[in-house]
């Protein structure tokens, strides 16, 4: 598994996480351009 695939898998699990208090519709920072955003953090 590449690091990119690992990151994608992590995000997929978080998007499907029903125990997380953050509502799914507010999780868009994880799916939109995540690589670039983390680079510029």
């Amino acid at each position: 598994m590449t690091n990119q695939e690992y990151l994608n898998a992590l995000i997929a699990e978080l998007m499907a996480d029903t125990d997380w208090a953050l509502p799914p519709q507010q999780r868009f920072f994880l799916v939109s351009d995540i690589e670039w955003k983390l680079l510029g953090l």
């Binding site: 590449t2 953050l22 994880l30 953090l41």
Partner: protein
């Protein structure tokens, strides 16, 4: 005065200025990168738990300062983000000051990988170096990403609350759309990939690879964007230009300007203007702004001589600046009063001037009594 009426009047002064008309006064503007907190001895950590308290603390100095509009008021991080991502570029110093520490992770011999696949290179190579904790194990990675997602949402909500508070309490318009931040590829390489020393070294040692990387980043980040529509109704897109002041005119013309020109023409073609921060000194390159459509830019002048910029560009682009923030920290109002008058007398006739400190408020003392007196005087002196 009723706040809504005050907002309308201030908004009118701003609109007239950027449309090259003389309004009731010259509008004052600011960029408040957290420096406002320190006026009342607060930091972001004191108020991060409460949106309203945060906005109040950040803008408290407006109780005694005339301000018409703001580029932004807020931080590009939160205390929790700063504590969680300890290698991030946007971090809070112990005293609460927002810092930008370049933390470039790309090596000089990795250009071919960047050029071949920018997204894959970032995910596979740079992110594990920059945020190793995300890649250590799954549970740690998920916890970190949860903090990231929660705090980014929180920061957006905080910006919204602060913007509303500024408008409702002080009649201050927010003029930039930070959701639409623009940059050219060379600034991306400078900011995120190779840093100050790396980029300037690469430009001398292997300029062809840098050029190929610029094209790859443009194709990855911007080519589709500038082919699509732009909505000017949401405020000015914000562009802080970081590297131009360190480039030779030849480097600027070959490696920066071709991309910059496309961004400007894209926004201008849809009736908008870019709010472009000319960080550092641009005396050797600023004439490029005569090549793009008239009034396609609001130029935030930094270290250049404002009157000289006005002489060269003032008939062609809207100018924002005129007050040296560092001098307000060192001089009395009486020592600065004539400089304020000179800027208003020279640049205000015919509109096109926003009076503004040359730099954003970042550290303790940036918002200071002399600054406030200068801003209040500029409003009073320019009022008809």
């Amino acid at each position: 005065m009723e706040t809504n009426k005050l907002f309308q009047q201030k908004y009118e002064s701003f609109q007239k200025a950027v449309n090259r008309q003389e309004g009731p006064w010259v509008p004052n503007a600011m960029t408040n990168n957290g420096g406002g907190f320190f006026w009342k001895g607060k930091t972001a950590r004191d108020v991060a738990h409460d949106y309203q308290a945060y906005a109040q603390a950040l803008l408290a100095f407006l109780d005694e300062t005339w301000m018409d509009c703001q580029v932004m008021s807020g931080l590009t991080t939160t205390p929790r983000l700063s504590d969680t991502f300890t290698t991030a570029e946007n971090r809070l110093a112990p005293d609460g000051t927002l810092t930008h520490l370049q933390n470039p992770m790309m090596k000089a011999d990795e250009y071919d990988q960047l050029i071949a696949d920018p997204k894959g290179f970032i995910a596979n190579v740079l992110l594990p170096r920059k945020h190793p904790e995300i890649f250590e194990d799954k549970e740690t990675g998920k916890e970190k990403l949860k903090v990231y997602a929660e705090e980014m949402i929180r920061n957006v909500a905080q910006m919204g609350c602060t913007t509303k508070y500024a408008a409702e309490k002080y009649g201050v318009t927010t003029i930039c759309n930070l959701a639409c931040a623009l940059n050219t590829p060379l600034d991306h390489i400078f900011d995120y990939f190779r840093g100050f020393r790396g980029t300037l070294t690469d430009l001398r040692r292997h300029p062809d690879q840098v050029k190929a990387a610029l094209d790859a980043i443009w194709a990855f980040r911007d080519a589709d964007r500038v082919a699509g529509p732009f909505d000017p109704s949401k405020g000015f897109p914000f562009q802080p230009c970081h590297i131009p002041a360190y480039l030779s005119p030849k480097q600027y013309k070959e490696l920066y300007w071709p991309f910059e020109k496309q961004l400007i023409e894209w926004v201008a073609g849809h009736g908008g203007k870019i709010f472009l921060v000319m960080e550092g000194r641009w005396e050797n390159i600023m004439d490029c702004f005569l090549e793009v459509p008239k009034d396609s830019l609001v130029l935030n002048v930094d270290d250049d001589d404002f009157l000289e910029v006005h002489r060269r560009l003032g008939d062609h682009q809207i100018l924002c600046g005129g007050l040296k923030l560092a001098e307000t920290r060192l001089k009395t109002f009486e020592q600065m009063k004539d400089d304020v008058k000179r800027v208003i007398d020279t640049c205000a006739p015919g509109g096109g001037l926003i009076f503004c400190p040359d730099k954003g408020f970042v550290t303790p003392g940036d918002v200071n009594p002399t600054l406030i007196e200068c801003l209040n005087f500029a409003h009073e002196y320019s009022s008809k």
